[in-house]
């Protein structure tokens, strides 16, 4: 048994023994149920945080170009790192044909957080013919009222000055050349705030009124899409819904390969090593020479299946697990891979109702500001701030720093799948 595995087994045994002995002592009345126990376990959520895990083993830091290769960001049109999604792109092509034939078309592109919805939407520009026009826009925040909605929509469709009424915006769009209008991050319309319906209705009316001229493509986070469907029946206005599934193992493998290639890391050793079975997590012996870059693919092969299972086809999580498992030997200076260590999310069970409802709202809305949280939960500024900051410090939320008053919080991207699954199972998210 190698060191990390021994470390993991020892830690689990110690936790188990601590739990059993603690319970026994509690039954005997020797040890009260300590609130400190919950505190410690909740804080353990941070153990899974990238910063912590990076520090845990890395005596020698990983090469910068390797880390840069796995940076997570939406991929621009034509980016070589965009892979897969052929079936979904074909569905878009079919919709494009229908639109060119004069049929009114509004399309929704739906995906879970981290499944590449924004990247997919940006690739659509490449599917158009030369003379066709494409406009991509994303919502930056939740529309506050009808005026704000009109201002946002005006900007989105390329109107230089915000218009005063929906009619004028429709008129403006009808005068424009037919184009594909892509609206990303439309989950902002799914807010559970009094008056949010007005914004959504305004957006819907604009799309419906101009669909004979323009092809609208709207990107939603899955739960937001479901929510506006349940609450407002919005799905009836869309002709097609392209849902982006999780990446398969093969697609994930492609993701890794393409990113390594794009980062300029050589792949020649892949065929030479080809050691698919065995060597699972052990030192890589298949590659001799070629340095760190040459070793990469053969390091990936034995862990790819586990990466796919642990990440459930979510690329950023797969990247994280892979980087977490990689280390540079202190003496050999060669890259090796250790067994993947799954993250432990059991402390999520200790969250209380208010925290779970907050996470569920953030999951369904994409993100919440303190003001949004106050409006949804009818709480005070301080209470909302306290709760969101607490969840942020538990590494469950990521804070987009814009100052305290304007800070927005979203689910920690790496954990979004796990949190969503937990919330669904606990009946807070649907």
């Amino acid at each position: 048994m190698n060191d990390p595995t021994r470390w993991a087994v020892t830690a689990r045994m110690a936790n188990l023994w601590s739990a059993v002995s603690g319970r026994f002592l509690q039954l005997l009345g020797r040890q009260p149920a300590s609130p400190a126990e919950a505190k410690v376990l909740l804080t353990d959520l941070c153990v899974a945080a990238p910063a912590y895990r990076q520090q845990r083993y890395q005596a020698v830091p990983l090469p910068d170009d390797l880390l840069a290769a796995f940076a997570v960001e939406p991929l621009a049109a034509g980016d070589l790192r965009f892979i897969g999604r052929e079936a979904e792109l074909q569905r878009f092509d079919a919709a494009l044909v229908r639109w060119r034939a004069g049929r009114n078309t509004i399309i929704a592109v739906v995906g879970r957080q981290g499944y590449g919805t924004s990247s997919f939407l940006q690739q659509l520009a490449l599917r158009l013919e030369e003379q066709e026009s494409f406009r991509y826009g994303r919502l930056a925040h939740r529309p506050q009222d009808a005026t704000d909605t009109l201002a946002m929509l005006s900007k989105l469709v390329g109107c230089k000055r915000p218009v005063e009424s929906l009619e004028k915006l429709v008129e403006f769009l009808q005068q424009q050349k037919p184009r594909v209008i892509v609206v990303d991050d439309a989950h902002f319309f799914a807010g559970r705030i009094m008056g949010a319906e007005e914004s959504l209705r305004c957006f819907g009316a604009l799309m419906v009124a101009t669909q004979s001229r323009h092809l609208w493509v709207v990107g939603f986070e899955l739960f937001a899409w479901q929510r506006i469907g349940y609450a407002y029946g919005a799905q009836r206005y869309f002709d097609d819904c392209i849902q982006l599934p999780a990446f398969s193992e093969a697609e994930l493998g492609q993701c890794f390969t393409v990113r390594l290639r794009a980062a300029g890391l050589a792949l020649e050793a892949e065929a030479a090593s080809g050691n698919k079975s065995g060597n699972k997590g052990g030192k890589n012996s298949g590659s001799n020479g070629g340095g760190e870059a040459g070793q990469m693919p053969s390091l990936l092969t034995p862990v790819l299946s586990d990466l796919s299972k642990l990440s459930e086809g979510k690329p950023d999580l797969a990247f994280f697990y892979f980087l977490d498992a990689l280390f540079v030997g202190e003496e050999s200076r060669e890259l090796s891979v250790r067994p993947l260590i799954p993250m432990d999310f059991s402390p999520l069970k200790q969250l209380v109702h208010g925290e779970l409802f907050t996470l569920a709202e953030i999951a369904a809305n994409g993100q919440l500001s303190i003001a949004d949280h106050r409006a949804v939960f009818l709480s005070s500024q301080d209470s909302s701030w306290l709760l969101l900051e607490h969840l942020h410090h538990l590494c469950l939320l990521q804070r987009c720093d814009k100052g305290i008053a304007d800070a927005t919080y979203r689910l920690m991207p790496l954990y979004s799948n796990v949190i969503n699954k937990f919330l669904t199972n606990a009946n807070y998210l649907y």
């Binding site: 009094m194 409006a375 949804v376 199972n425 649907y430």
Partner: protein, 281 residues
């Protein structure tokens, strides 16, 4: 004959037999504790299915006790036929005599397990009490009311009376919020606000429909009754849900300066607008 039977019964009694019976009972009790613990663990793991899982234990308990009783009688005690008939006869007599009391409740409990009018976790109303079923014993049913009182109801009473079950094994449940308003309010605007308040509540289960209706009623004066019907995501939040919708609605009315009470001219004569909430029945 009676003396023979008594003698046979006395012959059966021995320290070994008592020890074995005690051991069987102890093991059964332990098994049931383990099953209860396991059920709770499963519920913790799958909170969404807690109502379905919660109904497993009462059924398992009665099946296990039945099997253990049969095992004790036929494998440990092994009484001769005359003793069996004598005991069965006595039992029959006892059941007949006690049918008005505890045994009646017991039989009702057995019937309820195989043909349940509700399950553990359901929100029910009977005998003027409304609350969550927290435990189903063989002879009694335990309710926890919204005021956190625990109420014990004999099972025979449950079977003999009408029972209103608000959620029937589902986690979501319809909550009805009734708000009385002065008749002068703008009806459509108020309906729209009520609907928005229901959608905005984090406790509302949006998968199920929300309806807002109005009706005219007379209580010293003409009033407009607003009836908001929405499903709560989990029965545990029923009161919070109703209160949240009401609060949001009232806040929205204040924001728009819509009066919640009749004009001052009617003061002293008219009853002010009020709020009543409760589950659908």
């Amino acid at each position: 004959m009676e003396q023979d039977v008594l003698a046979q019964i006395v012959e059966l009694l021995s320290l070994t037999m008592f020890t074995r019976v005690a051991l069987a009972l102890l093991l059964t009790w332990l098994l049931l504790r383990v099953l209860l613990f396991g059920t709770h663990k499963l519920i913790d793991h799958y909170p969404r299915y807690r109502l379905q899982l919660g109904q497993l234990f009462p059924v398992l308990r009665i099946v296990i006790w039945f099997l253990v009783t049969a095992y004790i009688v036929f494998r440990i005690i092994q009484p001769p036929q005359p003793v069996i008939f004598a005991v069965l006869g006595s039992l029959g007599l006892a059941i007949g005599l006690a049918a008005q009391g505890g045994v009646r409740n017991l039989l009702a409990g057995v019937m309820m397990i195989f043909n349940p009018p509700f399950r553990v976790g359901d929100m029910v109303e009977f005998g003027g009490h409304y609350g969550e079923v927290i435990k189903l014993d063989l002879s009694v049913t335990w309710l926890r009311t919204l005021d956190d009182n625990t109420i014990m109801v004999p099972n025979s009473v449950v079977l003999e009376n009408a029972v209103s079950n608000a959620n029937s094994g589902e986690l979501s449940e319809m909550v009805v919020v009734k708000i009385d308003l002065p008749r002068s309010v703008p009806v459509q605007e108020v309906q729209s606000l009520a609907r928005q308040a229901a959608i905005a509540s984090p406790y509302t289960f949006l998968k199920k429909p929300i309806s807002v209706t109005v009706e005219l009623r007379h209580d010293y004066d003409y009033l407009l009754r607003l009836i908001i019907k929405a499903y709560v995501i989990d029965i545990r939040f029923e009161r919070l849900h109703a209160s949240d919708i009401t609060g949001r609605f009232i806040d929205a009315m204040h924001e728009r300066s819509i009066a919640l009470a009749p004009p001052p001219a009617n003061e002293g004569r008219a009853r002010q607008g009020g709020v009543a909430t409760g589950p659908a029945s």
